[in-house]
Each structure stands twice: as structure tokens, then as C-alpha cells.
């Protein structure tokens, strides 16, 4: 039992999610989109109309955050930081030039943390044949603990971290402010007080 828990907690999939700011934020926002409207709907102190209205508003806000994150933060900040690091730090640390983009580096990072046997199995898959340069592939195949170039990971995470703050705390509230009210009107949930009055009349 305890061994199974330890194995699950050291799994590569969970580690990749826990060490990646983008994955963290996507999973956290998704859970917020479930948890916050859920808590509002469970609350017995509020009337049914108000519950629906508040829950829909909260859900739409979190959905906007998710959309902003997926469309702006990941492509602009994650990939943008990698490109900037390549441009300005590539002269001092030429190892970054071995990778085409941020995703390729992150795939390499994930493989480098796997055990030799699992790594070889992943590399022998059809779709990963042309993934890395021949030197990198050889390095991954022959070295027990391959170099992980942590600073590239740090650069990508810094970009995602900055982007998450700017996007989720500054951009998303502005976008949601402009879009939520029309969306609520479209769903027929805007102005619950008026509805109540109609019903009572």
C-alpha cells in the first residue's frame, strides 16, 4: 500500500506537472472553475436565482482565465522567453542552440529525468525518431544521468511565472469584465432581481 503511494507520488507524469508552471496554472484554474461555482451552488443561504447567477459568473471568469492562459501566456511568454534566452544567452551558453524550441527542451528534460530503461523505450518510439539532434540522442542513450541544463528550465519557468501573473491578475479581469455580462445576458441569467419580481407579480 505505502509502496504504491510512493510510486504514484514519484511518477514522471505528476513530477512533470508539479514542476511546470503552465501545467500548474492550467490544473489550478480548472479546479477553481469546478470548486468555486460548486461551493456557491451548495450554499443554502442564497436564493436559487442568485446562486445560478453567481455560479455562472464565477465559472465564466475562470473559463476566461483558462482561455487567456492557453492563448496568450503559453505561446507568448513560455516560447518568447526561450527565444530571448537563446538570443541573449546563447553566446555564453551554447548548449541552448541544440534545441529548436521550448517544447523540445522540456521533452528532453523529462527524458533526462527518467531511468535509463524507460528512457530508451521512449526514444525507440516511432514519433520520437527525429526529435533531438543526433548528439543529444546519443547523450540520452549512453549516459546514466544526462545533463539537464537547469538554467534553460529556469528561464522558461520565469517567463511562465511572469506571464501567469500578468495574464491572470491583470489581463483576465479586464477581458472578463468586457465579456461576462454579454455572456450572462445571452444565457438569460443577467438581472436576477428583475426575474424575481416578475415571478412574484
Amino acid at each position: 500500500m505505502i509502496t504504491a503511494i510512493t510510486k504514484a507520488l514519484t511518477s514522471n507524469a505528476l513530477t512533470a506537472m508539479a514542476t511546470n508552471t503552465s501545467s500548474q496554472m492550467i490544473s489550478e484554474t480548472t479546479l477553481k472553475a469546478i470548486g468555486r461555482p460548486g461551493a456557491i451552488l451548495v450554499d443554502n443561504k442564497i436564493s436559487d436565482d442568485t446562486k445560478k447567477y453567481a455560479a455562472a459568473k464565477e465559472f465564466l471568469y475562470q473559463a476566461t482565465c483558462l482561455l487567456v492562459f492557453a492563448t496568450i501566456i503559453v505561446p507568448v511568454f513560455k516560447h518568447g522567453t526561450f527565444k530571448m534566452a537563446k538570443k541573449y544567452l546563447g553566446t555564453v551558453r551554447p548548449e541552448i542552440n541544440q534545441f529548436k524550441n521550448a517544447n523540445e527542451y522540456l521533452d528532453y528534460y523529462k527524458l533526462a529525468h527518467k531511468k535509463m530503461q524507460n528512457r530508451l523505450a521512449s526514444l525507440s518510439k516511432d514519433h520520437s525518431e527525429n526529435k533531438f539532434t543526433p548528439e543529444l540522442r546519443e547523450h540520452l542513450k549512453t549516459t546514466e544521468h544526462p545533463q539537464t541544463y537547469d538554467w534553460i528550465k529556469g528561464a522558461i519557468e520565469t517567463g511562465s511565472f511572469t506571464g501567469s501573473i500578468l495574464g491572470l491578475a491583470i489581463l483576465a479581469p479586464q477581458i472578463s469584465h468586457a465579456t461576462i455580462h454579454p455572456a450572462l445576458k445571452f444565457l438569460g441569467l443577467e438581472k436576477p432581481a428583475e426575474k424575481k419580481l416578475d415571478k412574484q407579480a
Binding site: Q24, A39, T158
Partner: protein, 195 residues
Amino acid sequence: MAYQERLVKTFEYIAKNLKATHTVMAIATVKGICRPTFTMMDKTEKPETKKYTALREGITEAVAIPVYFICGELAGFGAKILRNVQDSVNIKKAKKLAEKTGDIIDLEKIKQSPEVTKKIANNLRFLGVCTAALLVIPSVCSVAIKPIVDEIIKPPKNPDLPKIPPANPVQQIKPIQRPSINSFLGSHGMKVGGV
């Protein structure tokens, strides 16, 4: 050249030390400042509603920051407990095996390495943050926020809603009025034959 090396070292430090709790706490902090500010800047809403909404948003994020920290750190602390339990199980197994084969146990090899413990702690912190986002923060907010906000400012009154009378109004029972002696003295002169 020097600034580039310094930047590389900073990135290395970030890669090794960035935890799930740091990101969510930073976002909650900025959200706690920006969301109420944007709400207060909105010109279409009534000032009372703006104040109420801004305060609610601010308190939500103020609650979220310590909850994220506590959940993350508690979950991270669970890694140490898990390590101790796992080590004791592994040692028991190894001792049983050694009794059969007669080999000598190397405790250092059996014990969980610090790297694995760190990995488990990080993963648990992430799970703790997820639990906080899904369950803990919405529950705490639904219980605590309304009384706090109502204590600071009264919620905006909705003039459109009619006042609903209380469900069971206490009816005042009037005492039975008995004819007093004065009622007999109301008229002058003497009457004959009753009141």
C-alpha cells in the same frame, strides 16, 4: 558577459527552488490588489456595489494566500512522514530477507534518498495547492467572507425588491374587555329594568 552569467545562475536557482505554492501565492497577491482596483475604477456600477464587490474580491484573495501556503506546506511535510513509513517497511522486508539468506543489510542503500524525498515533497505540495483551489478556499470563503464583509460595510440595498413580511408575525392578543363599573354610571338619573 558578467550580467549574462549572473542571469544564468539566477535561472538555475529558480529551476531548483520554484515551488507550486510560490506561483499561486504570487498570483493571489497581485489579484488581491488588481481585481478590487479594477472594480473600483468601473464607472458603470453604483459606488455602494463597487465597494461591496471590491471588498469581497480583496478578502477572497487575502484568504487564498495563507490557505495556499498552509495546504502546500502541510502536504510537503507529509513527504517526511511518508519517507519514515516507507523506510521502516523497507527495513523490515530487508531484515526478513537477510534472515533467510544470511546477508548483511546496508541501511543507507535501503533508505529513501533525499532527492526522492524532495521530489515527493514537491509533488505533494502541488496536490495540496490543487486541494486548496478545489475544496478548501471555496469552503472557507463561503463561510467567512459574508460575515466579514457585512461587518465592514453593509451590503447594497436593492430598491426593486419588495419588502417581504415576516413569516410568522407575533400576534398581540387583546385582553377581553369586561364592562367596568363606570359604564353603569355613564347616564344621569335613575333607570329601571337593567343596564
